[in-house]
Subunit: 294 residues, 2 copies
């Protein structure tokens, strides 16, 4: 199976897992509706893919980490809801649909985001294929990579830098936190589910961080060259907001070069794992980080 076929397969499996996890008997139907609107929106499920693939890379069936994959996707969905809020990026569109607060109002969107973030932990913690120790490690990692030392920190650095020009080193710190931290988390969660050793977990995190950096550079380039139709979200916002992006700071060619270097190093990380189908697909995933069109 090629990387793209595997991505599609894992995405479909993630949709089933997320449907199960978010299909609860809520007091408020509106909250459930808002949660499911954003959790089951047919995203690419790159993070769930990374969780599954690193588990298989360590020789363990990916069903072992389906709940971990869903948990990371829930954290991702929460971050998109809050990112789109009027007080943040003020985005009306997300994946070709009205953003959560446009569909449900701001108060419910804030709560749906909060609930997804909080629910992610029980989703990971109740993974019946893993031990208490593995599940505890998974929840702690989710907390650290999503919270004030990870994704939230990246979003705050982004806010702090608004309207200012920032240095390349600051931009890298921003991206490593805002995007890289959750990629790191996803790759390491696959290893945790597979009971991999500490070196493998460390290398998996490095792979995730580098893939995240390449992902963001490609995002910056798509914001310049793509259309709203292709991306399913507003384009050209970075330039009009005067944002410091990789292309803005390094030129488009320099940014492309930087992304290639990240991916070259990410591929080296894979040499720490035995040859297998998952490894071949992860090489393709690396190339996809550079070539993707949406």
């Amino acid at each position: 199976m090629s990387f793209l076929e595997q991505l599609k397969t894992v995405a479909a499996e993630a949709e089933v897992t997320l449907d199960r996890i978010t299909n609860k008997n809520y007091g408020s139907e509106r909250l459930q509706e808002a949660i499911r609107y954003s959790a089951l929106n047919g995203g690419k499920r790159l993070r769930a893919y990374m969780v599954a693939e690193f588990c298989e890379l360590c020789g363990v069936d990916r069903k072992t980490v389906a709940d971990y994959g869903a948990a990371v996707e829930m954290i991702h969905a929460f971050s998109l809801i809050h990112d789109d809020l009027p007080a943040m990026d003020n985005d009306d569109m997300r994946r070709g649909k009205p953003s959560n607060h446009r569909a449900f109002g701001e108060a419910t969107a804030i709560l749906a985001g909060d609930a997804l973030a909080l629910d992610a932990f029980a989703a990971a913690g109740k993974n019946k294929y893993c031990s208490n120790a593995q599940n505890a490690e998974a929840m702690i990692l989710l907390s650290e990579k999503a919270g004030s030392l990870g994704m939230c920190n990246g979003q705050q650095i982004d806010i702090d830098g608004e309207g200012k020009s920032i240095e390349l080193s600051e931009l890298i710190m921003l991206v490593d936190n805002k995007t890289g931290a959750l990629f790191e988390c996803a790759c390491a969660l696959g290893c945790i589910g597979a009971n991999a050793n500490e070196t493998q977990k460390k290398v998996a995190k490095r792979f995730g961080l580098l893939a995240g950096r390449a992902f963001q550079i490609t995002d910056d380039l798509l914001d310049i060259h793509s259309t709203a139709e292709e991306l399913g979200k507003t384009v050209g916002k970075d330039v009009s907001a005067g944002k410091s992006t990789f292309p803005a700071l390094m030129g488009e060619e320099g940014a492309r070069e930087e992304a290639k270097n990240c991916i070259a190093e990410a591929k080296e990380c894979l040499t720490f794992f035995a040859d297998c189908d998952a490894k071949n697909r992860l090489y393709e995933f690396c190339d996809y980080m550079l070539s993707r069109k949406h």
Copy 2:
């Protein structure tokens, strides 16, 4: 030591634990500042007290659950930040100080809340006095009681009911979720840290739920009879917003009676535990739920 002395002692200890947990090397100083502004604001620390007291009620030193207590207080602090947002209750004051978004702006307030919610899990999960199994159970409980089946659900029911008059049964469901769930969580976390049996955990949850209901009724009454100076927050908002509160639905006397009944049943829950100082203090805590002035 009396209940009030113990509450003061545990509150001071919680402040130290929260200071340690939130004193990290952030990329964004502003995020750290906003987190600490709300996490270290000298609250009553009722939830940390309940965690500590139920641990001692089960015969175990409360230092065992200091991290769990801090985690619940972090979840509480996050909920207050998001509750105060313009899209939610739009409150400018909190404990006599500007609310988080008035001090730091809306975007940072949203993120500081998010970060506190997410960081709470690593805070509980890294409790070195407890096993992986205990820490996993603690994190799952935090997730379930704070998330879409607990506190967030209560807040959504609150929003859904705005401008409408609701039935008493709906109000009870609202309060049991919005306030009771985290009280339940706190009492049960103390039991988890003490390796109590399942019956004790269940009874502890019931105690928390009832104490939460009494707490909210007293809150409703204080909103009518107290001053902003005494409470450190805006008063009279329920009446001016036409909110369905216990006094509005049952009359003031009826509400007082209901609170007393809750506390009588909460006290019965304590008979499942052996006599000790903690038990005596919890009886006082029960009375305080009815008599508190702020």
